[in-house]
Symmetry: C2
Subunit: 362 residues, 2 copies
């Protein structure tokens, strides 16, 4: 979103608080309640979003007043960064609040949460606020050409196969249009991969070239910028997204966050989620069919699988079958377990079989 | 090390086992004992290495015989990878051993440890064996031009400032001469940085350009390839290394592993350690002088600091003073705590002060 627009929207928000004060009213802020109970599946977009339930913070109560002071300090800090073309990590903002008197945050959780609240209130993105997470480090390999606006303000053109080393192109913290432009894509689909070991394997085996696809390393539960980039390539260039993960309940959640969104970011699911993303990661059926080396499910794994049976995101017949099978056999497997059959098995056998037999596993 | 040399050295090792068998002797393998008690500080090189104590594994005992079977399977697997210009993760090798009959590893710890044993026995590097860790992801930003041999076998020239995005150049898993050549360095020193947030801060503030230096993101306890690259630039281009970390006992260990080496890799300290590396991270004195925001030391922190008082790597007067002061004040601080004074404070004040006042803190 354009910088001017961000400043304007933030100012509008502050102005509305000011006019409540000016007219003698006690200022208050109302926003959707951001908890598990207030998540609904949007039937139009097939992504999760917040429902109708709201919370109101009023200047009448001490904690409500403190909340507003902190919010105003944060808005001021963001406007200053925009003016100076700076950005900061969420952690830096937490430390900077040391100088905010009454606005000082008690913990970083509090300041992180407020940055999300500010997104909800302003319908802007954290990236618009120039706030970034501590680490990202996800990467992409394949025939896609992007232009990244560097710290010098110039756009640098990079082909994510020809202009990079074997590590691929490191996805920056913001992939919005003002930071990253997608110029040219020559690929038929995106393969999103959970682990670095498997990403490196597919790079070494040249899977992006032999199958004309883009390889994206998710680095576990993917950062917002990674999910947003998947979404942008999916929408702007019409590439299907296939998610290749380990076979355990936590990996299933990685898939779900890509396809449907996550609870903490349900206000921007329509920015981040790819509802058509298909799961081609390790399943309980794969464990049986491919006789993969396994580990026993832990108590935590079992609890997570049972929770998923009640999770609206896993209600398709195929997901229920796979989750129940996994509970029955009591085993999980990693994507690298395919190496049992040699280093090439994943690219010569497993992925071609799964890709030629896409069952619409969503 | 050249590929031919690796194959030859491995074959020599196997041949010596074979000739013991052929001449009717029970084969055995002797190597330095790889534990804390057998670590000595090399007075010539100022790095840690293994001492005189050895262990012998004999084919007489079942576990000794099994050890040799596994080692031989591993050597065979490595030779196959070299022949086919492949590489694999340590985890893939563990899974591949599923097909090795008696050579199958019980746990990945066992196979990782044996890969290190093989380094000790052959005086080669894991990188020569084409074995890589699961994740790396450290990066470098600055005016250094390298050539990376890509999966296609061609050398690609990359300037780590002009040819990359703001994320910098991702350091590959091997930075040996056959994979990565250092072509040109235009910088006066290397600043090695613990956290991604601080690396991004220095990149955004243009510290590499204003101070003519290379910024290296360590990503916590640095991977071997990161330490090796620091060593190579330090030796081949005579650049001093300054280590900028959080101020806590774990960060002190990051410094020590860069400067003196780590226990697990003491057989290759001379490849990895930079004994002249100076510490310019957060100290207990900094916490007091700069009035930094702090956290209380945990019981684990206190135990680690006390262990460091007995660690031969921290016996200089300056280290002892700083560790004792930290124990006295009972506080630690992160490098990002400098943001208390604004986003530019670290580059405009803290680092210039520390760099102009280098005390040979090693």
């Amino acid at each position: 979103m354009a910088v001017d627009n961000t400043s304007r929207k933030l100012e509008d928000m502050v102005r509305s608080l000011y006019s409540m004060l000016a007219s003698g009213d006690i200022p208050e802020i109302t926003m959707p309640s951001r908890n598990k109970e207030n998540i609904v599946l949007d039937p139009m977009l097939s992504v999760w979003r917040y429902g109708e339930s709201t919370v109101t913070r009023s200047g009448k109560a001490v904690d409500g007043a403190e909340y507003m002071v902190k919010l105003l300090y944060m808005v001021d800090f963001i406007r200053e960064m925009i003016r100076e073309s700076k950005s900061s990590t969420l952690r830096e903002m937490y430390y900077i609040s040391e100088g905010w008197n009454l606005g000082k945050f008690g913990t970083q959780d509090e300041s992180n949460l407020m940055a999300e609240d500010l997104e909800v209130l302003s319908a802007l993105l954290r990236e618009d606020f120039k706030l970034r997470p501590e680490e990202n480090g996800a990467s992409i390999m394949g025939d896609i050409t992007i232009e990244e606006k560097t710290r010098k303000g110039e756009f640098k053109k990079i082909n994510c196969r020809d202009d990079v080393g074997d590590g691929g192109y490191g996805i920056p913290y913001s992939v919005e249009e003002d930071k990253l432009r997608i110029k040219d894509v020559n690929a038929k689909f995106i393969l999103a991969i959970e682990t670095g070991g498997m990403f490196d394997r597919l790079v070494e085996n040249g899977f992006d070239e032999s199958n004309n696809c883009l390889l994206v390393h998710l680095k576990g539960q993917p950062a917002r910028s990674t999910r947003r980039l998947l979404k942008r390539i999916n929408e702007e260039h019409n590439l299907p997204v296939y998610v290749f993960t380990d076979g355990d309940p936590w990996s299933f959640r990685i898939y779900a966050s890509i396809a449907y969104g996550a609870i903490k970011t349900a206000h921007i699911s329509h920015y981040l989620a790819v509802p058509t993303a298909e799961y081609i990661g390790i399943t309980a059926s794969d464990i049986l069919n491919y006789k993969l080396p396994t580990d026993d499910l832990s108590d935590k794994d079992i609890a997570a699988l049972n929770a998923e049976l009640k999770d609206p995101r896993f209600q398709s017949e195929q997901w229920r079958d796979e989750i129940e099978t996994m509970l029955n056999i009591g085993k999980k497997a990693e994507q690298q377990a395919l190496a049992k059959y040699g280093l090439d098995y994943v690219t010569s056998t497993y992925l071609p079989e799964k890709l030629s037999d896409l069952t619409g596993f969503t």
